[in-house]
Amino acid sequence: MIDVNAPTFWSDLVDVLLVATGQTLYMVTLSLLITIVVGLPLGVVLVGTEPGGLFERPFGSRALGIALNRTLEFIVNLGRAVPFIILMIALIPVTRLILGTFIGTGAAVVPLSAVAIPFFARMVEIALKEVDHGLVEAADSLGASSWQIVAKVLVPEALPSIVLGVSTTITSIINYSAMAGVIAAGGLGDVAIRYGYQRYSGIHMVAVIIILFVLVMILQGVGSAVARKLSHRSSTPAESPVFRRLLAREPRGG
């Protein structure tokens, strides 16, 4: 039980929260970078190796395309199906192989990336499939290669949706990072469990919830704003000329 009236309670609380927030941001940022670097190409290959896709026949072999597609589908489904707490423990040997240790904030990046990559790859897959096939056909008619179509048409056209996928992925990495205390990674979730739950400090619990909430709100807000900026369509109401005129008139009317 923590004594709220202890002279150092509030400064200790701030210290603990600062350190934990730093750990969470560290885990989440690093995992996110790895997730994007691996998940984006993975999503592209998932879509591309489907029947009729751009990479239907890698190196001229449809069999290889099918094999690649099935394997990746299997891995992605596996990653999505196993509960994170189990995945984290099951990956301990892998983490140790890569980093030499399986404990600490850095070590949590491996399981966090492992859980986020399949999630993000699916988001990329969905975003890419939303791109009008006519655009691919137009690029084809201009003599584009498959890679040019990916780089100049598919990914840029899907970028607003991919950015939204990134902000959803961040939220889910933050969510999973709360469990990383199990491998001594620290972070905000760990504070909530160790102080809030095990030592009955409601203040710690509430503080963690507020910080997480604010973090997620900011990230989602930024994500949506960037996505809106990137999509040059006037389909969202806030960007339609009518809506803009209404907004412009409001101050005068009131």
Partner: protein
């Protein structure tokens, strides 16, 4: 410029396959505009997609500018495609790029350097009348403007051939006319060969030099417009001059007379009335500007016994008029 020979393509597996194209052959002459007309499902889209191999045929071949494009694949096919521009019904512009960026796409693919890309894009946007819109995004443009961007993109790489896949079907009549006129202009100024598919006779009438009628994957009829107009029983000509079904109210003779070129101002009716004493009734008439020339078709009813009509009809034919007897024995 484009030779399509014996193209065949079926779709579907398992059940009975659908024949999209059945032994289709066409010849598009250098510098002309060739229109393939047909209803939806006739196989037009499949046909035009074979010319740049967006779709592969089951058998047959397509030769563009002397190269058999059906034999190409990979890099060779991509290089060949750069010589064949294509425009689409729904424009297919990239939303994330400005007008300028969309036109530059083809040049980037070819590997043109940035300075040359900008220069070429500025020229081509001027040609299609969009010089002032270079920095706009497609979402800010009207349908007609979008298609102009599509045309500019297709032309940027200096192709020999332009394929138009229902390019005006999503546009209103006035915009359709302005886009068709633009296609005609670039056809003339750049000596560009154009193959277009459409379901609108208006398109064929306004800009095509030659046309083919496609029905259930087969070419039912083809030829130059001038030739089709003077071909007895031509269905395309019938579509060009929509006089409707022949009425069957009485026993009189009904003839359709087609005027074109030099015969456009023959005084047919007064000739029939004065020289043969036939009181002609006009059942219908259509005058059209086709490929810049005036042409027309009149449906006349000639009263009285059929044997009296044989001589006047023969006389009209001797003057070079196309006279088709729609009802009666006088033929």
């Amino acid at each position: 410029m484009i030779t399509i020979s014996s193209l065949t393509k079926s779709f579907g597996s398992g059940g009975p396959a659908v024949r999209a194209l059945d032994d289709v052959s066409l010849e598009v002459a250098d510098g002309t505009i060739f229109g393939v007309i047909g209803q939806s499902g006739a196989g037009k889209s499949t046909l035009i997609r074979m010319v740049n191999q967006l779709e592969r045929p089951d058998s047959g071949s397509v030769t563009v500018a002397g190269r058999n494009i059906t034999e190409l694949s990979g890099r060779e096919l991509r290089l060949a495609r750069q010589q064949i521009g294509m425009i689409f019904q729904h424009f297919n512009l990239l939303n994330h790029r400005t007008v300028q960026g969309n036109v530059e796409l083809g040049l980037e693919i070819i590997g043109t350097d940035p300075a040359e890309r900008r220069r070429r894009t500025a020229d081509i946007l001027e040609l299609v009348g969009l010089g002032a819109k270079a920095r706009s995004y497609p979402a800010e443009l009207s349908g007609g403007q979008k298609q102009r961007v599509g045309i500019a993109r297709a032309l940027a790489g200096n192709p020999r051939v332009l394929l138009s896949d229902e390019a005006t079907s999503a546009l209103d009549p006035e915009t359709t006319r302005s886009i068709l006129d633009l296609i005609k202009t670039i056809n003339r100024e750049l000596n560009l060969t154009v193959l277009l598919i459409t379901h609108e006779m208006e398109v064929v009438k306004r800009i095509c030099d030659s046309a083919a009628l496609l029905e259930r994957g087969r070419v039912v009829e083809q030829g130059s417009i001038v030739e089709l107009i003077s071909r007895p029983g031509s269905r395309l000509a019938g579509e060009l001059f929509p006089l409707g079904p022949v009425p069957d109210s009485n026993a009189n003779t009904i003839v359709d007379i087609t005027f074109s070129g030099g015969t456009a101002d023959s005084p047919v009716i007064s000739q029939l009335a004065r020289r043969h004493g036939i009181d002609v009734s006009i059942l219908g008439a259509v005058i059209e500007h086709i490929g810049g020339n005036q042409a027309g078709r009149t449906r006349l009813e000639l009263p009285g016994p059929a044997h009296l009509h044989a001589l006047p009809i023969a006389e009209l034919r001797a003057q070079g008029l196309l006279v088709e007897v729609m009802r009666g024995q006088a033929a």
